[in-house]
Symmetry: C2
Subunit: 269 residues, 2 copies
Amino acid sequence: MRDGYVHGYAPREQQRLQDQARSLADLLHHDTAYPAGARVLEVGCGVGAQTVTLARRSPGAEITAVDISAVSLAEAERAVEAAGFGNVRFLEADLFDLPFAPESFDHVFACFVLEHLAQPAAALERFIRLVRPGGTVTVIEGDHGLICFHPESAAARAAIECQAALQRAVGGDALIGRRLYPLLRAAGLEAVRVSPRMVYVDGSRPDLAESFTRDTFTAMIEGVATQAVEAGLADAAHFAAGVRDLHRTAEPDGMFTYTFFKGVGTRPA
Amino acid sequence: MRDGYVHGYAPREQQRLQDQARSLADLLHHDTAYPAGARVLEVGCGVGAQTVTLARRSPGAEITAVDISAVSLAEAERAVEAAGFGNVRFLEADLFDLPFAPESFDHVFACFVLEHLAQPAAALERFIRLVRPGGTVTVIEGDHGLICFHPESAAARAAIECQAALQRAVGGDALIGRRLYPLLRAAGLEAVRVSPRMVYVDGSRPDLAESFTRDTFTAMIEGVATQAVEAGLADAAHFAAGVRDLHRTAEPDGMFTYTFFKGVGTRPA
């Protein structure tokens, strides 16, 4: 699974994940705050992009952040320390083999994790077993089916499809956001609420065009260029044209939008 | 243009437009209210689906509602009268040949109108000339590129594409929402703000599944079945399968989402 992480582990990618987290933190996380003393498990914390926000919004919670990558964990630990938070402990573990007893946590949180798994339902069931009855599971995922931009570009669509295809090839699903509600319900959660979080960028928002359209989304697509070409999914020139066209949507007369879905459910008593 | 209105003028379609207006009124119109005495022009009022909401939210405004169809206007007049509002006058006119002097209005409002026009930019420029400097122009449009549902269905996608193709064939654009910001800016408006309005439906919202997924969106697609078959865009069985699959997304384990865009800009002083 480690080698299969579609976005890779390069330094530029780590910077991108940090940039993305800052520009999206409010949109995705403004309604997540755990009370003092709450035992919170973050699964798949990666480089800590969400962990810092989690620690900031729930300063009294006892957060355990796990990831399968020791390199990412070290980066996450540095990020949380640099931000001055002491309420997170880090642990290297596979999310399908977590070293915790059932009901060890009050809440589980996983952001951009299910999209990379061939068995998201099985993962969810494990998360649920780890929270006490009445505890919550929160998941956040995107959906590439809700990408929309202007000017339209077949090359840009093809480059995006390359990224989705690479994700599919390692068992993931870049279109998982639309399935969040049925997934959470089928896994046995109650009182499930899923809400869309749309990032909409036009010429009136040049900062967001920079931080989201260019530095978050387009950078993510650009980050799989080599993989896409090596996998025979695209030729380099056409892929580069797609990336150029995505940058074009960040111009003052362009438009770009992406939608994330946040789902929260409660473990039945 | 009258014959080219893609949705047609059948009674069921008129009911659909009224249903749609009620379920969407808050999402689309909660932030539109004109002050007492304001002279407001609604262009392309159709059967008055938005007019009733407009009159309710701006009870002191003097609203003029125009449409090219006398049949629709009569229906709109009945709807506004039935709702008990007396602040709307109705006028049959082509929006490219409106019988008003420049700067006759404080505000212009047009909902689901530009999507049907081959020359939306030219229409906008006419709207702008009709408002006084400092007055506003408000437009609301959807974008079929932001339709997302679960379970996925090629037949449903094909049926939706039929509707978009029929709209294109008469000069319209079912993907106009994404272009709203550049259109409003290019037409010369200032302080333009475009905001997405996403309708998100999952199993936790059975009423919305009924009123929006089934009775608004799917009914709209179903409404072009005969046209689509006659135009050779689809065979009847495949189209019907697509409609069935759209209804399927309204089931408790399904999901459906559509996004409208609302744009407001000010005529420069």
